[in-house]
């Protein structure tokens, strides 16, 4: 098992480096000059002056000071080196270090993603099991119609509708903002419903497939209660494909946080990423995007490790 984990960890390293390089290159080859942009943003912060206030020589000096005149590979190396030491640069807008911004916003996104994931797993598995056990009944049909609808509903719309109904019309929950658990309910459901729909469909089909296997027939013919057959014998095997989707759904959560945080006016990584894109605050874009991609890779790594734990055959492939 340890060898398996080490192997998976080593395989993740080139992907992580590649992700950093891709984000670095995208921003490096943008059709804007970061130094001039920096100067402009700095000036508009105090008084509206024309860009030519700094001479070209001064701009070049600044470029040298920031290390932006070095060869590309050195810049990238420095970026990675600094990042590994917790230094992610400074925001052009707020003048604060990106690290402070991340530290302040990440907890909101983590909280939201975990809550969303919990909802999608619980809701999805329950719905899927009910549908499978009641195969071909109206309960099955309705569960699956809900699941198909849930996959297709755009999250920004779903969020607005939940906000309208529970936040504005019924007044049960705060429509926007963050802070208490009450603020978390609507965004978490918005985030979780899409995943729940996927999990439900997969749980159903996977459970139905497992239920046709011979060892289930054996368990039944031993006279075991149907409840035990389903939960003790069938579920364990049926959950393997479901775990894959859950792992993937964490990615959806992180990507989805961009939308959900926007809809509910919550702070968070997705929010600062979009704001930074609109404000051309590239150091912040770089780090937030990178953070999300890295957590996705790590989540997938975790899923792989869970596979190995659940199914010993996979470890030795």
């Amino acid at each position: 098992m340890r060898g398996y984990i080490v192997r998976k960890l080593l395989l993740a390293v080139p992907v992580l480096l590649g992700v950093s390089l891709l984000v670095f290159l995208v921003l490096h080859f943008l059709p804007v000059d970061p130094v001039r942009e920096l100067v402009m943003q700095h000036q508009t912060g105090t008084a509206p002056t024309i860009e030519g206030a700094l001479t070209d020589a001064e701009i070049e000096a600044l470029r040298h000071q920031l290390g932006l005149d070095r060869p590309l590979y050195i810049q990238f190396g420095r970026f990675v080196w600094n990042a590994l030491h917790g230094d992610f640069g400074t925001s052009w807008r707020t003048k604060r270090t990106v690290m402070t911004m991340i530290a302040k916003n990440a907890p909101y996104t983590i909280e939201l993603s975990l809550a969303g994931m919990a909802i999608s797993i619980v809701l999805g598995v329950v719905l899927g099991v009910i549908a499978a056990v009641k195969e071909h009944t109206w309960i099955d049909t309705i569960s699956m119609i809900l699941a198909v609808g849930g996959v297709c509903a755009p999250s920004f719309w779903l969020g607005l509708m939940l906000m309208l109904l529970f936040g504005l019309k019924l007044g049960w929950l705060p429509p926007i903002g963050a802070g208490s658990w009450k603020h978390l309910v609507l965004p978490a459901f918005t985030m979780g419903i899409g995943g729940a729909a996927m999990v439900a469909r997969l749980t159903r089909s996977s459970l139905l497939e497992v239920m046709r296997q011979e060892y289930i027939v054996t368990a039944r013919s031993k006279g075991l209660a149907e409840r035990l057959v389903v939960f003790k014998h069938a579920m364990r095997n049926a959950m393997i494909p479901v775990i894959t989707v859950v792992g993937l759904s964490l990615g959806h959560m992180l990507g989805g946080s961009v939308i959900v945080e926007n809809v509910f006016g919550r702070p968070g990584l997705g929010r600062i990423a979009v704001d930074a894109i609109n404000e051309k605050d590239y150091p912040v874009v770089q780090v937030t995007v990178l953070m999300m991609a890295v957590s996705y890779v790590l989540a997938n790594l975790l899923v792989d490790i869970c596979y190995g734990l659940l199914d010993p055959r996979i470890r030795y492939k």
């Binding site: 080139p14 992907v15 992580l16 590649g18 992700v19 891709l22 984000v23 995208v26 921003l27 080859f29 943008l30 195969e135 071909h136 099955d140 049909t141 699956m144 198909v148 609808g149 996959v151 297709c152 509903a153 755009p154 999250s155 920004f156 719309w157 779903l158 607005l160 509708m161 906000m163 309208l164 504005l168 996927m198 469909r201 997969l202 089909s205 996977s206 139905l208 494909p241 989707v245 964490l250 990615g251 959806h252 959560m253 992180l254 990507g255 989805g256 961009v258 939308i259 926007n262 809809v263 990423a273 979009v274 894109i277 609109n278 874009v285 995007v289 999300m292 991609a293 996705y296 890779v297």
Partner: protein, 296 residues
């Protein structure tokens, strides 16, 4: 969905393969429902200039936030624009975006997947590595990164969503190619002296068509959704374009007094995604049931 499974007909008689597939396909309820919705949307898109009651971008100062009524069936938005007319014109954009981004993503992905699966060796290592890196960007993020580069706009959204879809296509086609490459008919073609390009595009591509067709259909829905999300974030179509995602975000601030302007565009997005997904699910079950777990 089990309720929608079609029985495989034992006697196919003189029917051609395609005919019998179509026949089986339309026995699935979901496919019929999906086709009806798509036909409806397509008709709306094509005939929008003739059937839309108002100009989709005409601002009317004394008719702001009018609730649904006989005059404005779906009401008006905060600028007094008719929601139904905007939806009809918006369906053009959504359908185009859906198909163009799938064409871009699918085209690039199929070629990359074919080459990677067929060539093997370092070519495969490079392409697969790139695909792995691109797949590390969850959900919308890859499209977002590309939008930063291209700048906002509807055209750029299509490219961004297309490129964002490419790695999943490449991976799907590669894995299918790998399993087909080892079959006897490929060996036979090779023995007969067929060139690599001929084997790749004629023999192998022909046999990966089923998953490609299914993935195309399912991809259209996903692309419509992604494009609408980017529109919602303000990174896609720009005002006053009647794009569904943008319509929703523009009316967000007025949702308390004007539920209709935000509700109907969302329903339209959902209906279009749902319809193509229903057709896609049906195609998957008919053409290649083995794909069930893989493409959902």
């Amino acid at each position: 969905m089990a309720v929608m499974e079609a029985p495989v007909e034992a006697a196919e008689g003189e029917q051609s393969g395609a005919q019998s597939t179509l026949k089986r396909l339309f026995k699935i309820k979901g496919v019929v429902i999906g086709t009806v919705i798509v036909a409806f949307l397509a008709a709306g898109a094509i005939f929008a200039p003739w059937i839309a009651p108002y100009d989709p971008i005409a601002i009317s100062r004394n008719e702001q936030l009018v609730p649904p009524s006989a005059k404005h069936i779906l009401g008006t938005d905060q600028l007094g624009r008719d929601v139904l007319s905007r939806l009809l014109f918006g369906s053009r954009l959504s359908l185009i975006v859906g198909f163009v981004s799938v064409a871009i993503g699918g085209g690039a992905g199929v070629v990359l997947g074919l080459i990677s699966g067929f060539a093997g060796g370092w070519v495969d290592a490079v392409i697969s590595g790139l695909v792995d890196i691109m797949l590390a960007f969850p959900g919308l993020l890859l499209a977002l990164v590309i939008i930063i580069w291209l700048g906002p706009g509807l055209m750029n959204v299509m490219v961004a969503v297309g490129i964002g879809n490419t790695p999943r296509w490449a991976r799907l086609v590669r894995s299918t190619v790998l399993s087909i490459k080892e079959t006897d008919f490929v060996t036979a073609a090779k023995a007969a002296g067929a060139t690599d390009a001929r084997i790749m595009f004629r023999h192998i591509l022909g046999n990966v068509l089923a998953p490609i067709i299914v993935f195309t259909t399912l991809g259209v829905g996903g692309s419509i959704l992604s494009a609408a999300s980017l529109g919602y974030l303000g990174l896609g179509a720009q005002p006053p374009t009647p794009e569904w995602g943008l319509m929703l975000s523009e009316s967000r601030a007025f949702i308390r007094v004007c539920w209709w302007a935000a509700t109907f565009p969302g329903l339209a997005i959902m209906a279009s995604v749902l319809s193509v997904n229903l057709i896609g699910d049906g195609l998957r079950d008919t053409l290649d049931p083995r794909l069930r777990g893989k493409l959902s």
